[in-house]
């Protein structure tokens, strides 16, 4: 992971582009032949993928069962709303906390592992959650899922916003998205983020310079599931339902494909590109053919074979191509 030297910009260019593009969608999305809900969905998936990439790209831990936590967030939001207290803040915060708690519990079982063993354990845990969602009819509604999840109003006390329309929900989610985006951007440049990346590069050495590697891996997993929980909760609101498919192995696979195609292994912004590309491909390719996923899968395979660093990697290679005398690396390139 290449990281800029010195002070990281507070609002880097890709962040501004992302936010301006999202913010302006109501102005142009219809003219581009798309619809506002699509922008909302893209944003939610980008959020999920960014949190996931903290684990995969930055800490080097392959979780292939992360869809489960997206789903847990969706179910937790729905259940809290339907059974406990239909208050947006309570339900959102609750969904994040419930997901993070389950994530923390799973992380406790897997954080002493790495590589393929780690990946297999995450799949196993992911399948457990999926199974429970499918079979625990009285709570989860089984295969039908939870219906009638409401887009509750955002009540600030002195003023309350109705989020029932796609536009209103979009702007509400954009606000949360921005906050998480900034927090994650800060995180990867913070001591914590640098240490996570050091652990990815060399776990043994990290332990020998005095880090509690287990605890950092546990924390990375937990934080990334908390973000997944938030994304899942917003997704439940967007879809006005939660169903087992959301936490299936498919969802877990999708987020991996998003992150890898976008270039999450080499860039913080990879997941933004990848998730956008994925959802657009689903809608645009999907309009022509039922088998869009086949074509998408082929693109994915080609990418992994020929350019495993993804779109962001292609961009970096182009930007960093040697111009005059190639130095070992541009002075001051990387932490």
């Amino acid at each position: 992971m290449q990281l800029a030297p010195g002070r990281a910009p507070l609002f880097p260019v890709p962040m501004l582009i992302t936010l301006v593009l999202l913010l302006s969608t109501p102005l142009w999305v219809a003219r581009a032949g798309l619809y506002q809900y699509l922008a909302l969905e893209i944003m939610i998936w980008v959020l999920f993928a960014l949190g996931y990439n903290l684990l995969l790209g930055f800490t080097g831990l392959p979780s292939f069962g992360h869809g489960a936590f997206f789903g847990v967030g969706a179910y937790a939001f729905g259940l809290l709303q339907l059974r406990v207290w239909p208050n947006l803040w309570f339900d959102l915060l609750g969904a994040v906390l419930v997901t993070a708690a389950l994530g923390a519990a799973v992380a406790a079982f897997i954080s002493h592992r790495r590589g393929i063993y780690y990946a297999l354990l995450t799949i196993a845990f992911g399948q457990i959650f999926w199974f429970v969602a499918n079979k625990w009819h009285t709570v989860t509604g089984g295969e039908d899922g939870l219906l009638n999840i409401k887009r509750l109003p955002a009540d600030f006390g002195f003023v309350s916003f109705d989020l029932a329309s796609n536009n209103a929900l979009f702007f509400f989610c954009l606000a949360l998205f921005t906050a998480v985006l900034i927090a994650l951007w800060r995180l990867i440049h913070s001591p914590l983020g640098r240490i996570l990346s050091a652990i990815k590069q060399n776990e043994t050495r990290a332990a020998f310079v005095g880090y509690n590697v287990w605890l950092y891996k546990w924390l990375a997993f937990t934080v990334s599931t908390a973000v997944a929980g938030l994304a899942g909760a917003l997704f439940a609101m967007a879809q006005q339902s939660a169903y087992p498919n959301v936490m299936s192995l498919h969802t877990s696979g999708f987020v991996v494909m998003m992150v890898l195609i976008g270039g999450g292994l080499v860039s913080f912004w990879g997941p933004v590109i990848g998730a956008t590309f994925f959802i657009l491909a689903r809608d645009l390719l999907g309009a022509y053919t039922e088998t869009w996923l086949l074509w998408y899968g082929l693109i994915f395979m080609a990418m992994v074979l020929f350019k495993p660093e993804g779109v962001a990697g292609v961009w970096q290679a182009w930007k960093g191509r040697p111009r005059k005398a190639p130095v070992a690396t541009r002075a001051g390139d990387v932490l």
């Binding site: 002070r7 800060r186 914590l192 070992a328 932490l335």
Partner: protein, 247 residues
């Protein structure tokens, strides 16, 4: 009492007894060399002393405190640092980044997720000073993976030093270095010797005999002899090895 002591250490891998009842001690401020043929158990001994492996039997104490069986992290935090024979660097970080993450100053803010480490000029100056100490001034922003071999060796020591240790274990620091690199390393170790307690595994006997206050010879998983360089020159085992030409 010695700063670092081990009593009756044994370690077995399967049927093979790799360390047999090793007892040794390192005086504060001294440089101890460990030599012996390949497969004698030198690196295993290091790994047991620095917490990578737990000994099957025996006791290790540091500054009077029992550290037997502690994890590498706990041992590192007590002020014991080590370098590796097979290099263990953070390859995607620059030389400066490698030193930065190894510093206690950064470790203490390890759970800070908000502050920009790149803006921590104090930390960067401290890291740059460590690099200067190991002769890597000017290489701060070169990726560890792009450094030439000799400089990677120096960085290996830099990362170990970054932890501000009281005691430093170096595993074959001259391995693969040319004459010039070895000479430079010798200067560095001579410099460090005044400030730290150092233990070095080394095949280059010339290097050891010039620097060490005390030398241990390990063979068949045991300390077969020990003494000052002058004493060891008289030792039969040492004379029969390839030392004669060098010393």
């Amino acid at each position: 009492m010695k700063l670092f002591e081990a009593h009756g250490l044994s370690k077995r891998f399967g049927a093979q007894m790799v360390l047999q009842d090793i007892t040794l001690g390192f005086e504060e401020g001294q440089l101890t060399g460990i030599m012996g043929p390949n497969g004698a158990g030198k690196t295993t001994c290091f790994n047991v002393l620095t917490g990578r492996y737990k000994p099957d039997r025996g006791r290790v104490t540091f500054a009077g405190e029992d550290i037997t069986g502690l994890s590498p992290r706990e041992i590192a935090r007590k002020g014991i640092s080590r370098s590796f024979q097979i290099m263990n660097l953070f390859d995607s970080y620059t030389a400066l980044g490698n030193v930065l993450v190894a510093m206690p100053h950064v470790r203490r803010q390890g759970f800070n997720a908000w502050r920009d480490l790149g803006a921590d000029t104090t930390a960067q100056q401290m890291a740059a000073a460590v690099l200067e100490r190991v002769g890597l001034k000017g290489k701060e922003y070169v990726l560890a993976s792009s450094l030439p071999y000799g400089q990677r060796r120096a960085l290996e020591i830099g990362v170990a030093l970054a932890a501000e240790p009281r005691m430093l274990f170096l595993d074959e620091p001259t391995a693969g270095l040319g004459a010039e690199g070895t000479a430079r390393l010798m200067d560095l170790v001579r410099e460090l010797k005044r400030q730290l307690t150092i233990v070095i595994i080394e095949h280059d006997m010339n290097f050891l005999f010039r620097l060490a206050d005390q030398i241990l010879v390990i063979h068949w998983g045991q300390v077969i002899t020990q003494g000052t360089p002058a004493e060891l020159r008289q030792n039969e085992w040492v004379q029969r090895s390839n030392l004669g030409a060098l010393a």
